[in-house]
């Protein structure tokens, strides 16, 4: 709230100058401290090293100093005559500064760093002096990708995810239409239908993993009911013998990916449903009436009157479903860890597995996979941005 107080008190010029000067001095001091202070030795001089967990506070003391310096700098800036004259130009940058810096450092720059890693062979290790052990190999990683059957499996699975995940949209629409009534208690039904989306994907993965379990799970139970009998084995314990072996959905390459996708669809359908429910709420009653007068009913009405009005909801559903499909990681990690023999890998999981899973440590190769995934995602991001851009244009 320092800013507020200073804002109030800058009535006369001298006071303003003094505040600006103080702000400048403080900013310079803090920036110097930020660079110079040796926190470990300061702590030991003050005799508080036992209190200082050296790893985190070092960084945080620096962070606090940096934020202090920034705030002081702002005080400096907003008290200058230059700011007074150009405040409409300068103010947005002050508002943006922290958030934008943060975002650029943690999100935008790493994208390019990753791409640069993809041209190296690196196991992620730094030498004792902190220098990187990476070795520049140009496009070698991409050439290796082209020959890697696991990469193609992952790519194919990504495609399966994309295509099958789209089912969430019509199913979500179906459930939304089913629930779009005003009978008593419908709100609770809507909430409960939405429920799966709120649960962590890890939990959904565990639930379905158990569901598919051929001995103790649901599938095993159902199978056992039809095909299995119990008998006594050689040491006198009960064992289950099945005339037809139960399907090991997550253990067989030909079913496993489908099994995971079905689990993934469950929360995704819930999300699409809620998008459509909101959309249906805002469908104009006049147009429905007009449609009715034209004799449109049921499917025709849906196709020609309702769906066009639901376009924003559909657009959003497509966007979140595509992103969800390409980001599928948690479920795979929980249900199969990419197995059996890598057959349920998608690019996202394969990248993780190659880069840091089980000590494999192929940072360069992993980054190449990530770059390919990013390139695919970029197509959708561009499409989304283009749509938003059109909307913004029309909005003006």
């Amino acid at each position: 709230m320092t800013i507020e107080n200073t804002m109030v008190s800058h009535r006369n010029e001298t006071q303003m100058g003094m505040v600006a000067f103080a702000g400048a001095a403080l900013a310079v001091c803090l920036i110097c401290l930020f660079y110079l202070v040796d926190i470990e030795s300061t702590a030991s001089i003050l005799g508080i090293e036992q209190l200082v967990d050296a790893r985190v506070p070092n960084f945080f003391i620096r962070l606090v100093l940096l934020i202090g310096a920034l705030v002081s700098a702002f005080i400096l800036i907003i008290n200058t005559a230059f700011y007074k004259r150009n405040r409409i130009v300068l103010a947005p940058w002050i508002f943006l500064s922290v958030g934008l810096t943060f975002f650029i450092v943690y999100v935008i720059i790493p994208i390019f760093t990753s791409i640069s890693y993809s041209f190296t062979r690196w196991n992620g290790l730094r030498r004792a002096d902190g220098s990187s052990t990476a070795e520049w190999i140009g496009l070698e990683n991409y050439r290796m990708l082209m020959e890697d059957p696991n990469f193609y499996t992952s790519l194919w699975n990504n495609l399966l995810w994309l295509v099958l995940f789209m089912l969430a949209i019509p199913i979500g629409l179906g459930i939304a239409l089913f629930l779009n009534q005003t009978v008593t208690g419908i709100r609770i039904y809507k909430s409960l239908f939405f429920f799966p989306f709120v649960i962590s994907q890890v939990v959904v993965g565990l639930i379905f993993g158990w569901f598919y379990e051929p001995t103790f799970g649901m599938v095993g139970e159902i199978w056992g009911f039809f095909f299995c009998t119990e008998e006594t084995n050689i040491v006198g314990n009960v064992r289950t013998v099945c005339s037809v072996d139960p399907p090991h959905i997550l253990g067989e390459a030909k079913y496993a990916t489908y099994g995971i996708i079905v689990a993934g669809l469950w929360p995704q359908i819930a999300y699409c449903m809620i998008l459509y429910l909101t959309g249906l709420n805002n469908v104009s009653p006049d147009q429905i009436e007009a449609g009715r007068l034209d004799g449109a009913k049921g499917w025709k009405m849906l196709r020609h009157v309702i769906l066009p009005q639901l376009w924003p909801a559909t657009f959003l559903a497509v966007v979140v479903t595509v992103i969800g499909a390409l980001r599928s990681f948690d479920m795979i990690a929980t249900m199969t860890s990419g197995g059996p023999f890598g057959s349920t890998n998608v690019l996202a999981y394969y990248m993780y597995d190659q880069a840091i899973g089980e000590g494999v440590g192929r940072y360069g190769y992993g980054s190449a996979i990530a770059t390919v995934l990013f390139a695919i995602m970029l197509v959708y991001i561009s499409y989304f941005l283009w749509q938003m851009y059109k909307d913004e244009r029309e909005g003006r």
Partner: protein, 413 residues
């Protein structure tokens, strides 16, 4: 693996103090096993070390094994302890190559224990002709079997491949699956592969394969796979192995639905937990396949290393010398039920698995570290996926071996 709230709390406190900058006489040790047995053995050894060296202020940071595998990549550079646990063989190679481990050849040359009593295991601690760590435990692999089932069917411990096949057939006829296995996390399949390979072709071929000197399509490796195929095709392994972990796979063994398990000695604890009377379990070394090939064994070791960035290397060497003593290792391994790498150490004569294991490894012609420790991680990953796929569908053999050749040509560049 069991945690208690208290141990987690202690761990937190320990890790908070661990990074406080060290003074001379401070010794920071990172260890990676929270399982009750290993944890206790380690803590007892630390107490003994403190008694012997009252001037050294020891700080311990014990983390979960999986977490340690990732964390070590970072703390060796940024926040190095004075001692860390890690694995020999190819697993230490990246750190040795990046100059992150201290060369302790001097210790191996001067310390009386390391000099003479560690001959069997010395090669796995060696890279570029230097020694980098001190092993504190290792354990045997082999076939654990249900003695009660074998007795009931009149099967003797198989000594040869033919006897093993005959025993398997007899078990199948009586409704018992010969082998249990859980390949969800892949490495268990590598154990079977390693043994069939060691028995078919011997120690040199194992080493040359994991060192990238032999192709996977080599006729000798094909022969290994053919032998394995014989077992798989007769239905010698439990069918749903791809969805089970090694612990899950104990269930059919405990229930008497499967009679044998190719495993390491750490699994004995799992049999106890699963409620098997240990009188009904016994051990035999993997039988001979090609007659006349010297018998090599899988015996993975765990070891201690000094990071290059350690602050107190002098006391760290003292600790390693302490660990290498026969008494230390005898006590330590008695607690965890494994084998002491120092040949002068006493072993627990009451534990039939340890007695047989010690006998097995001390008469072995060579000790392998295990496929995924001898081969580079990227190769091991691809190889083990291939083995799992092979176990699910033996008809893919050529395809798998050819693919592994491609991976091999890239990994060993």
């Amino acid at each position: 693996m069991k945690f208690s709230f208290k141990s987690v709390l202690l761990g937190t406190v320990a890790s908070a103090f661990m990074s406080v900058s060290a003074f001379a006489g401070d010794l920071v040790i990172n260890f990676d096993d929270l399982n009750p047995g290993p944890k206790k053995a380690f803590e007892e050894a630390i107490e003994d070390f403190k008694k012997a060296n009252p001037d050294i202020n020891v700080t311990v940071n014990n983390t979960d094994r999986e977490a340690h595998k990732t964390a070590i990549r970072n703390f060796l550079t940024n926040d190095a302890p004075d001692i860390t646990s890690w694995y020999p063989g190819n697993r230490m190679a990246p750190f040795v190559d990046a100059g992150l481990f201290e060369d302790i050849t001097d210790l191996w040359e001067s310390d009386p224990n390391l000099k003479d009593k560690f001959a069997a295991i010395k090669p796995t601690m060696t890279r570029d002709g230097k020694q980098w760590g001190v092993p504190y435990t290792f354990y045997q692999w082999g076939i654990y079997y249900r003695k009660d089932i074998f007795d009931k069917l009149g099967i003797a411990e198989p000594q040869t491949w033919d006897e093993l096949i005959a025993a398997s057939e007899l078990l199948k006829e009586n409704g018992v699956t010969p082998f249990t296995i859980g390949t969800k996390f892949l490495w268990t399949a590598a154990g079977v592969f390693d043994y069939i390979n060691l028995r078919t072709n011997g120690y040199e071929v194992h080493n040359d394969l994991t060192a990238g000197k032999i192709k996977y399509t080599d006729p000798r490796i094909r022969k290994t796979m053919e032998n394995w195929k014989q077992l798989i095709d007769m239905g010698a392994f439990v069918p749903n192995h791809a969805t089970m972990s090694w612990q899950d796979a104990i269930a059919p063994f405990a229930n008497g639905d499967a009679a044998m398990y190719v495993m390491g000695n750490f699994s004995v604890d799992g049999y106890k937990t699963a409620g098997i009377d240990l009188d009904n379990v016994d051990f035999f070394p993997f039988p001979e396949i090609t007659p006349g090939i010297p018998r090599a064994e899988e015996a993975p070791a765990d070891a201690f290393f000094i990071p290059a960035n350690a602050k107190n290397k002098e006391d760290a060497r003292k600790f390693l010398a302490f660990v290498a003593q026969p008494d230390t290792l005898a006590k330590w391994n008695a607690t965890i039920g494994q084998l002491p790498p120092n040949s002068a150490s006493e072993i627990n004569q009451d534990d039939k698995f340890i007695v047989q294991g010690f006998d097995t490894v001390s008469n072995a012609a060579g000790l392998a570290q295990f496929y995924d420790r001898d081969a580079p991680a990227a190769m091991a990953k691809a190889g083990m996926e291939g083995f799992q796929q092979f176990m699910l569908d033996t008809s893919k053999m050529d395809e798998i071996l050819e693919r592994l050749d491609v991976v091999q040509s890239e990994v060993y560049k």
